[in-house]
């Protein structure tokens, strides 16, 4: 069956090769026109940071979050803190002047929701006080306010009574902030809020208002995104760098300017096509999918190198370029397409991660690979058929041929039992060590601050400063209490009392910084109505008693909606590390399960910590699924290609080892398993399997011609090994340039992908032959066998053991 099938496939491939060369002129023109059209379209490609794309939409936490987030928009907040370095506290004319200026400026940030701008100067910020003469309440900073000693003392006293210390004013009274929320759509233009523009505007405020003893810190999701996009611009530089290095390597390898330029051009084609198609299907480049052009380019170079190599050998053996091109297509159509399919599989399985940004990454990358099959496998032979080799390239090749006993011959010793055993022992040691180390890998973000940026970035420094100055921070977990059939849940002891108890319980949970809930706020108001006496700071179960604190249930405070149908309990966390999130969420769930309320439901979890928790869960669930999927798919693909389970194992086992090593490396480098790093394994496996496929396919080819294992492996390495190493190098460099990215997640991805690409080729060179030897892969005894290859393997096996 085996041979018959191969023949049928091969004759189909031969037919295409023939057709390709016959129609090379019109096809070439079509490809060129397509390139021009898509190149033009590529100029419309836009960056798209999209917050929503980071949310695992189907996760139950996110369903609750999406149900309610429009009511409580807190997720997209900007905090601008002014900190005073001079003497005394913030109550001095200069500081208050700047704070007012900052408040005014924030109004003009594009996309800002002007009703949500809060600072000490906002009319919404009031204080309440009971005096002997009755209840008094007013804005914190009077409208006709003079910054003399009396006025400042008044403000200082008002602020203390407003309950804003720790919130709008720093705990040590040496900083104060402006808070505001961003809308998804800019109300002025009706367009999607441009975070880059927001970030630029915020930086302008910082530039204008800092100095003279005042520092400004700015944090918020939009600022992160703005900074990320600025960081993304560096990607262009990295691309250029990777491009130049690849170019040099290519030239060094091929000694032919024509082939170098050809490989580069062919590798760039799918990138251009892809960038051209993305705007047409409504996709943008986001911080993750920006990875795809690099990958496609690198993969494209590797396949172009393989093809030009085969073509060159063919031409050197005396064929004319167009026959050489047809032969190259014939020889490489199967392993090349299988390898590309494996790549595509790798990209496809990452779509198992239930997060839109990863889906898009998968779609974009699959599309890129599909385009690569067209450009590399069809367009490239067409170009090759028109090319004449320079003499230098010819000479170089002769030089190579003169030394058949070179490095590859030495390496091929691994295909003999002695060295194979050493290789195996090394592999087992690595396996044990890597497995042990990989157990300490953590999920989610590690460290505080935003994971997108480096720890010492301006943003993360700002974040650390704000966290230390105030009681609030950016890590918030929202718990929603939905009540049905209750008229006014905030005046209903069953609900509000339970919110109060939840608030209390969560305050005792490790990892929680503070809680903001309507119950807590109501208690402050009740106490306020009773002369600020802490002996009244409580909720009572009668509706009358509860009414005393009902001003707290003002929907504008963002802790509940109208009628308290939904109550938003905001749990401020120390950080958003997975251990914190898991602990806080499980404690919250414990309380919720133990304290059911009729007609009211506590739902987890919103805001950024809710998103992070859901994301981590999605990532953890996806990890196993993804690995099982990618390895099953690739094993099946290898089995179909090689028709040998031994061959499949020779390719797959080193890949598994490298995956475990990758996890071990992550835990060593303190990189968490998260949205950005989870796809790395799938990508690394999808691309890494290429080497094994190319090498084993060639090895099998020689085995069929009755060469012994070492000779076959030597053949494989001579024909494809150099190209494989070269490819691994170019790809490693292509993604390795990212290690210098100002964006932490890009650097992480770059380091890990570089590791995967490089170590996988080592696996294919050093482990594959050893495993093949130990597993008893041997030359075919009956080349015309109609039996399955595993039977043939067995037969050869018996033969060997008999001998």
């Amino acid at each position: 069956m085996n041979q018959v099938n191969v023949t049928r496939t091969q004759s189909f491939v031969d037919a295409i090769a023939l057709w390709l060369i016959q129609w090379r002129k019109p096809l070439g023109i079509i490809f060129l026109l397509l390139t021009v059209a898509l190149g033009w379209s590529a100029t419309n490609t836009r960056f798209d940071p999209g917050f929503d794309k980071l949310i695992p939409q189907k996760h139950q936490y996110m369903e609750a979050f999406l149900d309610h987030r429009d009511k409580f928009t807190g997720a997209n907040r900007v905090l601008i803190s002014l900190s005073w370095n001079g003497e005394g506290d913030i109550y001095n004319p200069e500081f208050l002047k700047r704070l007012r200026k900052a408040t005014d400026e924030v109004f003009f940030v594009p996309g800002i929701n002007r009703t949500t701008v809060r600072s000490l100067f906002s009319p919404e910020i009031r204080y309440n006080e009971i005096t002997e003469f009755g209840f008094m309440g007013d804005v914190v900073i009077p409208s006709r306010f003079t910054t003399d000693e009396k006025g400042l003392a008044q403000v200082r006293s008002n602020v203390a009574k407003s309950g804003q210390i720790g919130n709008l004013v720093g705990n040590d009274l040496r900083s104060a902030m402006v808070q505001a929320e961003l809308l998804d759509k800019d109300p002025a233009t009706g367009l999607k809020t441009d975070y880059a523009e927001v970030a630029t505007h915020l930086e302008k405020i910082r530039g204008q208002l800092s100095g003279d003893g005042i520092d400004i810190q700015i944090i918020g999701f939009s600022k992160v995104m703005g900074d990320v996009m600025k960081g993304l611009m560096n990607v262009v530089m990295f691309f250029a760098l990777a491009f130049v290095i690849t170019l040099l390597l290519l030239w060094r390898y091929s000694r032919s300017l024509k082939l170098t330029l050809l490989a580069i051009a062919v590798a760039l084609l799918p990138v251009i096509w892809l960038l051209g198609i993305l705007p047409l299907i409504g996709y943008g480049i986001d911080p993750m999918s920006v990875l795809v052009p690099f990958l496609i380019f690198s993969i494209g170079v590797s396949h172009a190198v393989q093809m030009s190599n085969v073509w060159k050998i063919d031409v050197l053996s005396g064929n004319d370029p167009s026959t050489g091109a047809a032969n190259a297509f014939r020889k490489l159509a199967i392993p090349g397409t299988v390898a590309l399919l494996a790549n595509a599989l790798g990209f496809m399985v990452i779509m198992l991660i239930d997060i839109p940004i990863v889906h898009e990454l998968g779609v974009t990358a699959c599309l890129g690979v599909a385009l690569m099959i067209l450009t590399n496998k069809l367009f490239m032979p067409i170009i090759l058929s028109h090319i004449k080799l320079e003499s230098m390239a010819l000479r170089h090749h002769d030089y190579e041929r003169e030394k058949p006993q070179g490095i590859w011959w030495k390496v091929s010793a691994l295909a003999t039992p002695g060295p194979a055993k050493i290789s195996l022992i090394a592999m087992l040691i690595l396996l044990v060590a890597a497995t042990w180390q990989s157990r300490s890998l953590l999920t989610g973000d590690i460290g505080s601050g935003v994971p997108e940026l480096r720890d010492d970035s301006q943003y993360n420094l700002d974040n650390a400063k704000i966290i230390s100055d105030y009681s609030i921070g950016m890590d918030v977990l929202s718990v929603y209490v939905e009540s049905t059939g209750r008229e006014e849940a905030c005046l209903d002891w069953e609900v509000i009392g339970m919110v109060d108890r939840f608030d209390f319980y969560m305050r005792g949970v490790e990892g929680v910084r503070s809680i903001s809930s309507v119950a807590g706020m109501a208690k402050v108001y009740v106490s306020g109505n009773n002369e600020g006496n802490p002996r009244w700071r409580t909720l009572q179960r009668s509706e009358n008693g509860l009414r005393a604190g009902s001003t707290a249930a003002n929907p504008e405070l963002g802790l509940n909606d109208q009628g308290c149908q939904t109550i938003n309990i905001m749990v401020y966390l120390n950080d958003h590390q997975d251990s914190t999130l898991k602990h806080v969420i499980s404690e919250a769930q414990k309380f919720i399960d133990a304290n059911p309320v009729n007609d009211a439901k506590f739902r987890l979890a919103g805001a950024n910590a809710g998103v992070a928790a859901a994301t981590n869960q999605a990532v953890e669930t996806a990890e196993a699924q993804m690995l099982i999927a990618i390895f099953s798919a690739i094993s099946l693909l290898c089995l179909l290609t090689f028709r040998s389970w031994r061959g499949t194992l020779c390719v797959i086992l080193p890949l598994i080892l490298v995956c475990i090593m990758c996890n071990a490396l992550m835990s060593l480098l303190g990189i968490g398993l998260k949205v950005a790093t989870l796809p790395v394994i799938a990508l690394g496996v999808g691309v890494g399997v290429d080497y094994g496929i190319y090498i084993y396919e060639r090895l099998q080819h020689s085995l069929r011609h009755k060469k012994d294992l070492r000779g076959s492996f030597y053949d494989a390495m001579r024909n494809r090994g150099t190209a494989a190493v070269f490819t691994a190098l170019t790809m490693t460099i292509g993604v390795g340039t990212w290690a210098f990215s100002p964006l932490k997640f890009q650097a992480d991805m770059g380091i890990l992908l570089a590791f995967m690409f490089l170590v996988n080729v080592l696996g294919a060179i050093f482990l594959l032959p050893a495993l093949a030897c130990l597993f008893g892969v041997a030359p075919d005894q009956k080349s015309t066998a109609v039996k399955g290859s595993s039977d043939a393997d067995k037969a050869s096996n018996e033969k060997r053991s008999a001998a």
């Binding site: 157990r439 953590l442 209390f504 006496n533 251990s579 080892l657 475990i660 130990l774």
Partner: protein
């Protein structure tokens, strides 16, 4: 043999990978606890069992190590109402009172508490409870509420003196049976001994009094809203304002072992008097919201309760000179 080797190697890699990629537990965080440092504690009371702290949502905590660590006590019926005061008859027998007329009783120094009274219809709080010299308990509260009990188990509603419906905030006793009852809107009642009725002292101040103490002899001190402190030298018949210009409300006091009087209250302020309440000056300002109670530990240091939890504070040294009061306004 070769097949065995193949299977063996493959299995070892696969088992290693299953183990490597199996679920990883994250580092567990500390167990949840009562937020002793972030809850409203209204009262600290020493008992035979240790030091008790009570307050938010009806929690009563016990510390047996001088306030360093706290454990929940066992409360039979949880009502989640704020406890406002505790009082003990001896080392073991005591009461806790709170909102919604809640009264709890302990017979073992505060390890276990039983509910003796709860009124879920009428939410008005009880604000103080005291043992009178005849062994009878007296509890007072909002809107002129007064209750009395002989054994702490059954309670009779009493008519407030003068039929007052002002909030009654505190009962101040002396060692010889004289008592003051203070409250809202400058309310002060005094009783010379148990056989007499409460005598109304005409209001000389319009704000609330939150507490006071007997200074010895016929001298008394009351304090309350916005830094108002008054002293009487004639057993409460006439009162003189103690000069004090810091407008923070004062909620509790302590007479230290060295005879200094400390007043505590809003804004985390502590004030001291070394002259038996003739003058007060700021001693220190803690970074807690409102201090509600203060006790002195064996080692002389202080344990304070606030609406932001219990905390320990070294005893501030006596101040040599008068410091300026300016600039410390709440």
């Amino acid at each position: 043999m070769r097949t065995l080797l193949t299977v063996g190697i493959s299995l070892s890699v696969i088992i290693a990978s299953v183990f490597a990629f199996s679920h990883r537990e994250s580092v567990p965080l500390a167990d949840s606890r009562l937020p002793v440092d972030n809850m409203n504690i209204t009262d600290l009371t020493p008992s035979g069992a240790g030091l008790l702290a009570a307050g938010e949502l009806g929690h009563i905590l016990l510390s047996t190590d001088e306030g360093k660590s706290w454990q929940a006590t066992n409360i039979e019926t949880k009502r989640h109402a704020l406890i406002t005061r505790m009082a003990f008859k001896d080392q073991q027998n005591g009461l806790a009172v709170g909102h919604e007329g809640w009264i709890l009783r302990t017979e073992d120094g505060g390890n276990n508490w039983q509910e003796v009274r709860f009124d879920d219809k009428n939410s008005d709080p009880l604000l103080d409870v005291k043992l009178q010299s005849n062994g009878q308990w007296l509890a007072i509260g909002a809107f002129g509420k007064m209750l009395s009990s002989n054994d702490g188990l059954t309670w009779q509603v009493e008519t407030a003196p003068n039929n007052t419906d002002w909030h009654l905030n505190g009962i101040i006793g002396s060692d010889n049976g004289r008592m003051l009852m203070i409250g809202e809107a400058g309310t002060i009642f005094k009783r010379q001994d148990l056989n007499q009725t409460w005598q109304h002292i005409p209001e000389f101040y319009t704000g609330s009094f939150y507490g006071g103490l007997h200074l010895g002899g016929s001298e008394w001190l009351v304090y309350g809203m916005r830094g108002n402190i008054y002293k009487s030298r004639d057993d409460g018949q006439s009162w003189q304002k103690v000069p004090f210009n810091i407008p923070v409300s004062l909620f509790n006091h302590i007479r230290l072992s060295d005879q200094r009087i400390l007043l505590v209250g809003q804004g985390g302020f502590m004030f001291e008097s070394s002259d038996n309440g003739d003058t007060f000056k700021p001693l220190t300002r803690t970074n807690r919201g409102t201090i509600t109670d203060v006790e002195q530990l064996q080692n002389g240091n202080l344990v304070l309760s606030s609406d932001e939890g219990v905390f320990l504070q070294p005893l501030p040294k006596q101040q040599a000179s008068n410091s300026k009061n300016d600039g410390v306004k709440s």
